[in-house]
Structure formats: C-alpha cells, structure tokens
C-alpha cells in the first residue's frame, strides 16, 4: 500500500520509518549468504577432492566443470537456473546458482590447500593401514581446511556482495526491499539506494571482522595469518 512521506517531514525519516523492511531484507540476504556458502563448501570440497585424488578421466571432468562454472557470469547462471524446465522458488534459484559459482571458486581454494599437505603424509596414512578415504578425511582435510581459511575468507567477503544478484530472480533481499520502499513512498531513490550501500558496507565490514577472528582462532601456530602479515593482500 502507498505510504508517502507526510508533508513537512524530513526525507531521512523515511529510512527510520521503513527500517523494519530493510531489516527483513538483511535477514533474507543472510539466508541467501548462508545457503550459498554451505552449497559452495560442499561442492568445492567434492570438486577439489575429485580433482586431486580422482582417477584421470573423472578429475579431468571435474576440472572442466570448475573452469566452465568460473567462466560464466553469476547472472547468467542465475537466469539459467531460473528458467529451468521445472519451477524452483526464487530463494532456491539464488542459492543453487550462486552456490555453483562459489563452489567453483572454493574448489580452487581447497585444491591448493590439499596440495599443500605433503604427499608423504598420505603415504604414511596408507602404510599405517588406513584406507585412502580415511587418510584424506582424518589426515589431509583437517590440515587443508585450516590452511584454506585465509583465502576462503576472501571468497566469503565477495560473496556477501554477490548475494545482491539474487535481486534479479526476485528474492526479496535488501535491494528488492529498497525497490519496494521506493515504490511505496513515491521516490527518494538516491536516499534509499545510498542507505542500501551503507547496509552492505556495514555487512561486509562485520563479516570481515568475524572472519578475521575465526582466522586467528583457527590459525596453525607458526603459519602466517593475515593480521600478523599487516593485512597485506600479497
């Protein structure tokens, strides 16, 4: 229903009045984000383990899938999933499409982390009578995952921003709520989109802070963390 700004009220009061709607949008954004990251971790781990340990044709196939997914813009993936012959709710479309995208990137992160665990450890595990699956699960992955946290957090940060693309398939996240607010209040686009930018900025900041804390807690003693390295990117 239309709810224009009362005469004489300052424009900024729109933000205060519509704050509950924005917050609802934030919740949906977080929902998309957690879904995407969860899908991405699973897909990324599966792809990377197959690429490193799978038999040749299978690992080659995994590499091609990963490369192809990284070559397609997320919007194209979103619309492809959206127009699949069967109907999915918008949230599922966003999570599947962005999850595929993120999974391809995460598989790169996990792959190099897995490769960084010396091969001798795998052989040692095998010689102790563990199966290959057991060795990977109990010896390689626990170390690889801790090493992956640094680059993984970069992916997390950029994924917070990419959730905004879910707008395109009709998920009512922050940006879509902003559009509704603009429609209901007859204008004020500049203010509303500016406020949106602020929300995202706060989210990425908070996300980065949280992930740095995680990184520090899980870091392997003796290995450089980002904060110790003065936050240099490379």
């Amino acid at each position: 229903m239309p709810r224009p700004l009362p005469a004489g009220a300052p424009e900024v009061s729109i933000i205060l009045r519509e704050l509950p709607w924005f917050l609802r949008g934030v919740l949906v954004t977080l929902e998309v984000l957690s879904g995407v990251m969860a899908t991405g971790i699973i897909l990324g781990l599966v792809l990377s383990v197959i690429e490193v340990y799978g038999p040749r044709p299978v690992s080659l196939l995994a590499t091609v899938i990963e490369r192809a997914l990284r070559g397609v813009p997320p919007i194209v993936l979103l619309l492809l999933v959206f127009y699949l012959p069967w109907d999915l709710p918008p949230l599922a479309v966003a999570i599947v499409a962005l999850g595929l995208c993120s999974g391809a990137y995460q598989s790169q992160i996990f792959r190099s982390a897995i490769r960084s665990v010396p091969r001798g450890q795998l052989e040692a595990g095998l010689s102790l009578g563990m199966t290959q699956v057991q060795t990977v699960l109990h010896v390689v992955l626990p170390q690889a995952l801790r090493r992956a946290i640094g680059p993984w957090s970069n992916e997390f940060a950029s994924q917070i921003k990419d959730t905004s693309l879910a707008y395109i398939v009709g998920v009512v996240e922050i940006l879509r709520q902003a559009r509704y607010v603009i429609a209901y209040t007859f204008g004020h686009s500049l203010l509303v989109y500016g406020f949106c930018a602020l929300i995202y900025f706060a989210l990425t900041r908070a996300g980065n802070h949280f992930i740095y804390r995680l990184e520090e807690r899980l870091h392997i003693p003796g290995f450089e963390t980002r904060r110790l390295a003065g936050k240099r990117r490379w």
Binding site: I75, V76, Y167, L175, G187, S189, F201
Partner: protein, 223 residues
C-alpha cells in the same frame, strides 16, 4: 518451433554483436579504472593525510558495496538530484569507478613491494621524488602487478553482464530481447553462457601469455 541449433544459428549474429558491446564496455571501464586506480594508489601511498583519507575511504567503501547497488545508485538514484545518465554511460561509470578501487589495491600492493631502499638510493643519486617514482618504482611495480591485476580483467568481463539490468544491449541484454520474442529463455541463456566461456577462456589464455612475457626472471616461480 525451430530446433535449438536453428535458434542458435539465427540468434548468433545478434548475440555476437552484443558480445562486441560487452568487450567494448569492459575495455573502456578497465582503461578508465586503470588511470583512476593509479591515482588512488598514489594518493594512498604518497598523499598527505587528507588525500590519504579520501582515497582510502573511497577504496574501502567501493570495495565494501556490491556493484549492482552502485549501478542502481547512479542510474536510479542520481536523477533525484537532476543527474541523468543514459544506460550505457551509467553502466560504464559504475563499472569504471568500481574497478578503479580494486585496481588501486593491486597497484598499492605492487608499489609497496618495491624495497624502500631503492627509493632512498634514487634520492641519494639526486633524483627528484617524481623521477624516482617514474624511473625506479613504476617500471618494476608495473611488471610485478600484471599477473594479479589481470584477474580484474576477467572479473570485469563477467561482471559487465550486470549492465543488462539497466537495459544496456550487451550480450545478456540482446539474449533477453530475443527471448522476449520467442520465449526460449533457457536455450538462449545457454548459448550466452557458452559465449561467455569462450570469451573468458580466450582472455585467460591471452593473459597467461602476457604473464609469461612480462614475468621478472627469478621473481616467483610459475605455478
């Protein structure tokens, strides 16, 4: 109803035209972002307190917000204060301003990686601040930065597809126009995905050739 292959054949010329717009848009934005990115990086490293604060604030804010929101702010928001851009220009400005912030971080990292002693040595030889930068820091930084910086090319090529949201007739926009006539959305987006894969893979190939050519011998082993 025509088959998928006939659809592909009939729509390919229009789609390739769109791909041309995509490439142009990307190239212009990268070039604009390159110049602005260097300005921002220099501002953050050599600038006084005020310049540093402005450049840092800009880079952090742009990197902390989604490109789509920036695009909406420029295209739908700015008309509120009387600034109206046509879609292509709005998309170009948004992407250029966006990539500048990311490129600035690459350049800053590269400048920082040049040992401070080299600059001091240049001063000791009587070079001015500008000369030291122009002849000592810049040439090395440029070679060091290119392998990492080239990721930004690929990233921008993909993200230029956002321009379709405000109605720019680039690759995605063209596919959308065609699909609006025959409702073959899924198949057309499949073709678009194929074209993007070809574009991205060939750009990645060119970039890796460039990387090999420009690599500083002995600095970091190829993976």
């Amino acid at each position: 109803m025509v088959s998928f292959w006939e659809l592909a054949r009939d729509s390919l010329p229009a789609l390739l035209g769109g791909a041309g717009v995509t490439v142009e848009l990307t190239a212009i934005c990268i070039a604009a972002g390159f110049i602005l990115g260097w300005a921002l990086a220099l501002g953050r490293i050599y600038g006084g307190r005020f310049v540093y604060a402005v450049c840092t604030g800009y880079v952090e804010f742009v990197r902390g917000t989604p490109l789509l929101v920036q695009l909406f702010f420029l295209y739908y928001g700015l008309p509120d204060v009387g600034v109206v851009f046509p879609p292509l220009l709005a998309a170009g400005i948004a992407m250029g301003l966006n990539t500048a912030a990311y490129q600035a971080e690459y350049f800053r990292g590269a400048i920082r990686s040049i040992p401070r002693g080299q600059v001091e040595a240049a001063y000791a030889l009587g070079m001015s601040r500008f000369q030291a930068f122009r002849h000592i820091v810049f040439p090395q930084a440029m070679r060091i930065v290119i392998p990492a910086w080239s990721n930004e090319l690929i990233y921008m090529l993909k993200y230029s597809s956002l321009a379709f949201v405000v109605g720019v007739p680039e690759l995605m926009g063209r596919a959308n126009l065609i699909a609006a006539r025959n409702f073959r959305y899924f198949e057309l987006y499949l073709i678009v995905a194929g074209i993007y894969i070809v574009l991205v893979w060939s750009l990645a190939g060119m970039v890796s050739i460039l990387d090999r050519y420009i690599r500083v011998p002995g600095l970091g082993e190829p993976r």
